[in-house]
Each structure stands twice: as structure tokens, then as C-alpha cells.
């Protein structure tokens, strides 16, 4: 409750601090045992197809987006064992949470408890999602888009598979489409225009974390239980994420959309992620691109260039149809 200590909660609720501690432990375990698999799961084919349409609206027509992935840091009190592992680049003890969200800012995949010293891409490579995301995304239909012509007036098309939006700390693969780092994109260029569309979609994952930490403010201050009982701290964070999903599932979205409404143009064409430098430095072994298979991001870029050449502008133009939105 707002990150208060057990003593404060016991005063507020008129029960003993021991009872508060017991309730928190039991609630955490029970929530994970009975609610996790209900509220945190990858969407099935029908749900994902519906979500893709919503993502398409948010990004002015970019097809195939299943979700957006990112990591956030949860401060903890320094654990008794292996405390150096949990220090982030600022020297503060943290655990990292990797979350894949859908268009309603629900967590559809969670990986909680990674140490703060790991970068986002390193966490993704070690996570369970890295093993299952390729076969999962391949079950969805690809979307053909015209990306140019062969010189004889015949359009050439390329297929856009289902993919996940990420920030620039992640590798660019057919299944992962990262936004450009704000230092590596020139304002006004086609890259910036694509970045603007992708950032409008990816902002939802940042909004989801902001909503989570605004609702459950225990996540904004160091988790004291982590120093002695790190597994419980991890379970607690996971249970809180489940409750976040539960609130969205029961319709508690009033105000969230007003607060975090992402508009094209206002979302910014620059992706600012302060963790990127560290992540890039720590994950040098991560392949930057998969040139043999062709990155989805390159296909998106080619399509946007084609729109720019044929229509003359790319802003406020539907990505697939080329019509004004």
C-alpha cells in the first residue's frame, strides 16, 4: 500500500505487523499460484490478430506488431549474497524486469529477477521468451508491402512478418524491430520518420511501466525484503505485475489513456533510452543484424522510402495504403 512499511500498514489497517507480513507473503504466493497463468500469457491467434489492428492504428498502419518489449529496474536493498551482481551502472542495487506488453499495456510475458548489471539485450538472450518467440511469431500471417519496382514498372513486394517492437538496445532481427537511437538518426530523414511511427507504438511499454510504478509505489523505493529474502522480492514484483494486468482486465483504464495517450508527432521521432549506452557496451556479443534473412526494420524502411518517392511525403500517410490518415 503506497510502499509503506509493515508497521505503518498495521496501523492503517488496525492489524498486527506480523499479520501484515503473513498476509503479504500468502497473498503473493496465492496470486502467483492462481492468477498468474490467467492474466499473464501470450495472446492466442485471434487475440493477437485483433491486437495487431490496434497496433496498426497506433503507428499509422505498420502491420504485424504483436507487442513491445522493454526492461525496467526495481530498486532493492542490497542482498546479502552476490550483491555486486545486482548493482546497476549507477552503483545502485536493482533487479530488472523484462516485460512484453500488448496494445492495452498488459504484460503478456514477464521475466522478473535479473540482476541490475545485465543489459536489456543480455536479459532477452537469456530469457525464455528468446527461445519461444520465433515459433510463436511464425504462426501469424505475413503482410505483403510494395517496397519498390524492378525498373520495368512492376512493383516488388516484400513480406512483413509478425514482430515485436523494442528499443535500440535490442538486436535487429526479423522478429525484433528496434527503434533508432536518438543519436544515430538525422532529424527529418526517412529514418526519423520511421522512428516516429515506431516510437509511437513503443511508448506504450514505457507507459505500462509508469502506470505500474504509479499504482504500486512500493516499486519506487528499495524493497527491504530483498536483502534477506530475494526470492520473495522477485515473487512480490511478479505478483504486482499480475495485479496490474488484473486491473486492466476488469476495466480499470479510466484516466490511463488520457494520461498516456500517444499521438503521432507528439511521441517524438527520437528514442531516448538512457540505458542504451550501457546495454550496447555490455552486449557486444549480440549480433546487430541478421543480413541473411533480412531485417523487418529494413523492409519497413524501404517501404517508407518508396512512399516518400511515390507520394512525396510520409507524414500522416497510412503505411500500407499510402492514403492520408
Amino acid at each position: 500500500m503506497h510502499g509503506m512499511s509493515y508497521l505503518n500498514v498495521s496501523d492503517k489497517l488496525a492489524i498486527g505487523p506480523t499479520s501484515v507480513c503473513r498476509c503479504v507473503h500468502e497473498c503473493t504466493n496465492a496470486v502467483l499460484q492462481h492468477m498468474y497463468h490467467v492474466h499473464v500469457r501470450l495472446p492466442n491467434h485471434q487475440e493477437a490478430t485483433r491486437d495487431m489492428e490496434e497496433w496498426s492504428k497506433a503507428t499509422d498502419g505498420i502491420p504485424g506488431i504483436i507487442g513491445a518489449i522493454d526492461c525496467t529496474e526495481i530498486p532493492i536493498r542490497r542482498p546479502l549474497s552476490n550483491k555486486e551482481d545486482f548493482l546497476n551502472r549507477k552503483g545502485l542495487p536493482m533487479i530488472k524486469v523484462q516485460a512484453l506488453i500488448d496494445v492495452r499495456r498488459r504484460f503478456i510475458d514477464l521475466d522478473v529477477g535479473w540482476p541490475g548489471c545485465l543489459g536489456d539485450a543480455g536479459i532477452f538472450r537469456r530469457s525464455q521468451l528468446a527461445k519461444i518467440h520465433s515459433p510463436y511469431l511464425q504462426q501469424f500471417d505475413t503482410t505483403p508491402v510494395v517496397t519498390g519496382d524492378d525498373g520495368l514498372g512492376n512493383p516488388t513486394t516484400q513480406e512483413i512478418p509478425a514482430f515485436i517492437l523494442t528499443d535500440s538496445a535490442y538486436p535487429s532481427t526479423p522478429e525484433l524491430v528496434p527503434t533508432y537511437h536518438f543519436k544515430k538518426v538525422r532529424p527529418g530523414s526517412i529514418d526519423a520518420k520511421l522512428n516516429q511511427r515506431l516510437s509511437a507504438g513503443r511508448a506504450k511499454v514505457e507507459n505500462a511501466f509508469a502506470t505500474l510504478k504509479g499504482r504500486f509505489r512500493i516499486l519506487n523505493q528499495p524493497l527491504l525484503c530483498a536483502s534477506e529474502d530475494l526470492p520473495f522480492a522477485i515473487r512480490l514484483v511478479a505478483a504486482i505485475c499480475v495485479l496490474h494486468n488484473f486491473l486492466i482486465d476488469v476495466g480499470d483504464i479510466q484516466g490511463v489513456d488520457d494520461l498516456y495517450q500517444v499521438k503521432m508527432g507528439s511521441a517524438g521521432g527520437e528514442d531516448v533510452d538512457e540505458n542504451d549506452d550501457t546495454a550496447d557496451a555490455m552486449d557486444d556479443d549480440m549480433p546487430d543484424a541478421n543480413d541473411e534473412q533480412g531485417n523487418t526494420k529494413d523492409i519497413l524502411l524501404r517501404r517508407l522510402k518508396y512512399l516518400h518517392e511515390t507520394i512525396g511525403q510520409t507524414e500522416k500517410v497510412h503505411f500500407l495504403t499510402g492514403l492520408e490518415v
Binding site: S10, D11, K12, L13, A14, I15, R22, C23, H25, E26, C27, N29, A30, V31, L32, Q33, H34, M35, Y36, H37, R41, S81, N82, E84, D85, G113, W114, P115, L118, R126, T211, G214, R215, D229, L230, P231, F232, I234, R235, A238, L243, F246, L247, V250, G251, D252, Q254, G255
Partner: protein, 160 residues
């Protein structure tokens, strides 16, 4: 130093007299103190009796402000639940959720909490901690963290 027997006897009698007089005075002072304490106690007894009669006879109003000073008062949570403490806008600013969402969360957690003890058992935390404590010894290649997943053995398979 070489007094005669009469003088010595007289000195002894005087010493005994002084001793008895001192004891007498001390006893009188003690009796006076006890009497004073008894009088004070009886006055306090009467006062507390009167207060008890007054407090039981009259209903002393407890203002909302004074309830905040009481330790372990359910005033706050009752006010939050029945909606008397915050307006909807204040409620949203305070909790970042609507009152309906809060009540749904309150209900589901109450349900979980009331049944949680039976469902989860008490020893799971210690088992988990024990499992992890052995696993966290290896620092290289993040084995400790990889084995964090082993701490979730009592959780559903989708979480492992």
C-alpha cells in the same frame, strides 16, 4: 575517660533516651507519610470513580481528526472503502486507479488472503530461500540468477 559509675550510667540512659526519641520521631513521620499517601490514594480513587461514572454516562464524541492519532485505527481504510475520504479525482490521484478497480482489487486480495494460508502453506518461503541460498554461491555466468527459476518450484509450470 575515667568517669565514675554514676556518670557512666547517666550517659547510657541519655543515649538510650535519644535513641528511643529518634525512633519515635521516625515512626511518627512514617505514619504521617502513610496517612498522606492513603488520603491521596482515596482522592484519586474517588476522582477515577467519578470519571468512570461520567465517561460511562456521557458519550464522548471522537472527532475525525482525533481518530488519526489513534494507533491501529481502521478509520482510514473504512473511509477509503466507503468513499467518504476521497473524491473520485482525489482517489485517482492518490491511487492511480478508479474506486471500482480498487474495490475489485480489495475483494480479490481479501479472497486470496482468506484462503491463501490453506492454499500455499507456511513452509514454502523457507524452502525457497534454502534452495536459492545454495544456488547463489556461483557468481560467474550468472548461475545464481539462472537458478533463481529453481526457486519457483512450488509455482505453476508456466512460471518456471
Amino acid at each position: 575517660m575515667f568517669l565514675d559509675s554514676n556518670r557512666r550510667r547517666a550517659l547510657f540512659v541519655a543515649y538510650v533516651f535519644l535513641l528511643l526519641a529518634t525512633l519515635r520521631i521516625q515512626k511518627q513521620m512514617e505514619q504521617a507519610r502513610v496517612a498522606r499517601l492513603r488520603r491521596r490514594q482515596s482522592r484519586m480513587l474517588i476522582a477515577s470513580f467519578v470519571c468512570a461514572i461520567v465517561s460511562t454516562g456521557l458519550t464522548c464524541p471522537v472527532t475525525p481528526r482525533s481518530q488519526w492519532t489513534l494507533l491501529r485505527s481502521p478509520h482510514w481504510i473504512n473511509g477509503v472503502r466507503d468513499g467518504t475520504l476521497y473524491t473520485p479525482l482525489e482517489f485517482y490521484k492518490q491511487f492511480r486507479m478508479t474506486r471500482d478497480g480498487f474495490l475489485m482489487l480489495y475483494r480479490i486480495l481479501s479472497m486470496v488472503c482468506s484462503h491463501g494460508y490453506r492454499l500455499t502453506g507456511r513452509t514454502t518461503h523457507h524452502q525457497t530461500r534454502h534452495q536459492l541460498s545454495g544456488c547463489h554461491s556461483a557468481r560467474d555466468s550468472y548461475h545464481g540468477i539462472a537458478l533463481t527459476c529453481n526457486a519457483w518450484d512450488e509455482l505453476p509450470e508456466c512460471f518456471r
